[in-house]
């Protein structure tokens, strides 16, 4: 697997990004640049602005001040088909089965082949033949399906907000390993979480946020052996 050097062109460039909610400043002037092909883990307390930052980059919110470029584009709309977003909530219809959900969301990206959905479900370790409705899924299954929905269209950039919340440790480790594999295919992944330990051996860089700012960025030297072991564990 060819490792992608940190010097590859930036996927996201943030310029003095500010976001107010009324009188509250959720994002307070973030300027940063993120290279492609890496897995970033965004850490921070509640209210540090992690989710807000992700929502802005995903195009769900307008920044109050500042600007950003995403995959070289000024508006998210232009590159929407190259970005995958997984929200804090599952973003799935409870009344539909897993495949029905994925079939619908694939259609939004112009993909009308069931193979995409099946592939995505298998990738996250779910059975595509499962006829149960999502409302009856366990939390872990739901998060997996949610991940499958976000990566359905094979995006170059994935923005994942708390993918491991309410997920048992084993499932979470599985999902982290999946993310590592996806990154190895050259994709860029941002994971917002407060369970940094789960990303051990997978993350390339830890980004710490506090009070609406990026306070530190730390390169993680991945232990190749540990990583490989983690990858072959399944």
């Amino acid at each position: 697997m060819i490792g992608i050097a940190p010097s590859s062109p930036p996927v996201i460039v943030l310029e003095n990004l500010v976001k107010f909610f009324g009188r509250f400043a959720a994002i307070r002037g973030i300027s940063a640049s993120f290279a492609g092909g890496r897995l970033y883990v965004i850490l921070g307390d509640n209210g540090a602005g992690k989710s807000t930052l992700l929502r802005i980059v995903a195009g769900l919110m307008e920044p109050s001040q500042g600007s950003f470029t995403l995959l070289g584009a000024k508006t998210v709309h232009e590159v929407a088909h190259r970005v995958g977003y997984m929200g804090h909530a599952p973003l799935l219809y409870d009344e539909l089965s897993g495949m029905e959900n994925l079939r619908y969301f694939a259609g939004l990206y112009g993909l009308h082949d069931d193979v995409v959905g099946r592939h995505a479900m298998q990738m996250v370790g779910l059975d595509p033949e499962l006829t149960r409705r999502v409302g009856q899924y366990s939390q872990g299954m739901r998060q997996r399906l949610s991940l499958a929905r976000a990566v359905l269209h094979n995006p170059e950039l994935m923005l994942l907000d708390e993918p491991f919340s309410n997920v048992d440790v084993r499932s979470a480790r599985d999902m982290a390993a999946i993310l590592g594999r996806v990154r190895d295919q050259g994709k860029t992944i941002f994971v917002v979480t407060h369970q940094a330990a789960l990303m051990e051996g997978v993350a390339d860089e830890l980004v710490h946020m506090a009070e609406g700012q990026i306070v530190s960025r730390a390169e993680v030297v991945r232990d190749a052996a540990a990583n490989a072991a983690l990858r072959t564990a399944r």
């Binding site: 195009g59 088909h81 977003y85 909530a89 973003l91 009344e95 259609g107």
Partner: protein, 224 residues
């Protein structure tokens, strides 16, 4: 992304979900049934009188029932914040709007078909004028209710007090359409006047507001 394709897919998805839960149609049916019964007690009309007030009664019942369904359809998109998944996708916003509108249109038409026999039974209704005109009025009128209703329901979900907001916004704007529906229906039922003007007015209303909805829905959907 073809608008029509996404519209079709969204519509099929909505219909499937409604078929499984039957939330909207059941609550609409029960609601309009209640209105019929309560009106009957409140006014205790004779057959002749009921022919005169039926136009108003029918459409008021459907208007209130439609509000129930309209809130339902968007509530479905808010659960689990599924709407975000649509908003991050490259699919055109108007496709979502059209799917919701057509879906609601079908729900209300089904309601009307189911309720029609009840009106005949309870109010001894019999049309003096040609019945096909009633069909035209029903289709145009239902679209008028539903197109603005879907838009304002989509607008209300972005506010606090969203269930209350929908009727507050929808009813004032709907007044001319309601007037047209009621008067056209009464004209046909009593056979005393021609509903032509009202049908034309409804057509104009439908065209104007469908165009406005399609023009403005993207802004409303993307208002954060």
């Amino acid at each position: 992304m073809s608008t029509l394709g996404v519209t079709g897919a969204s519509l099929v998805k909505d219909l499937r979900m409604e078929w499984r839960s039957k939330d909207a149609i059941n609550s609409m049916l029960f609601f309009s049934l209640l209105v019929v019964v309560i009106f009957s007690f409140a006014f205790n009309p004779t057959a002749e009188e009921s022919r005169r007030i039926a136009g108003g009664l029918i459409w008021v019942a459907f208007l209130f029932a439609a509000v129930v369904a309209l809130n339902q359809t968007w509530a479905r998109e808010l659960r689990n914040q599924v709407l975000d998944a649509y908003r991050v996708s490259p699919a055109p916003p108007n496709a979502l709007f059209l799917a919701k509108t057509v879906g609601n249109f079908l729900f209300v038409v089904v309601l009307e078909i189911l309720m029609a026999p009840l009106f005949v039974v309870f109010y001894e209704l019999r049309s003096v004028g040609p019945v096909w005109q009633l069909l035209v009025v029903a289709l145009l009128g239902t679209w008028a209710l539903v197109v603005n209703g879907t838009f304002f329901a989509g607008l209300s979900i972005r506010t606090r007090n969203r269930e209350i907001m929908l009727p507050l916004l929808l009813f004032p704007i709907t007044i001319p359409a309601l007037l047209a529906m009621v008067d056209a229906t009464t004209s046909v039922l009593t056979g005393e006047a021609s509903p032509d003007f009202w049908i034309k007015l409804l057509a104009v209303y439908d065209i104007v507001f469908t165009a406005l909805c399609l023009l403005l829905f993207e802004s409303v959907l993307n208002a954060e």
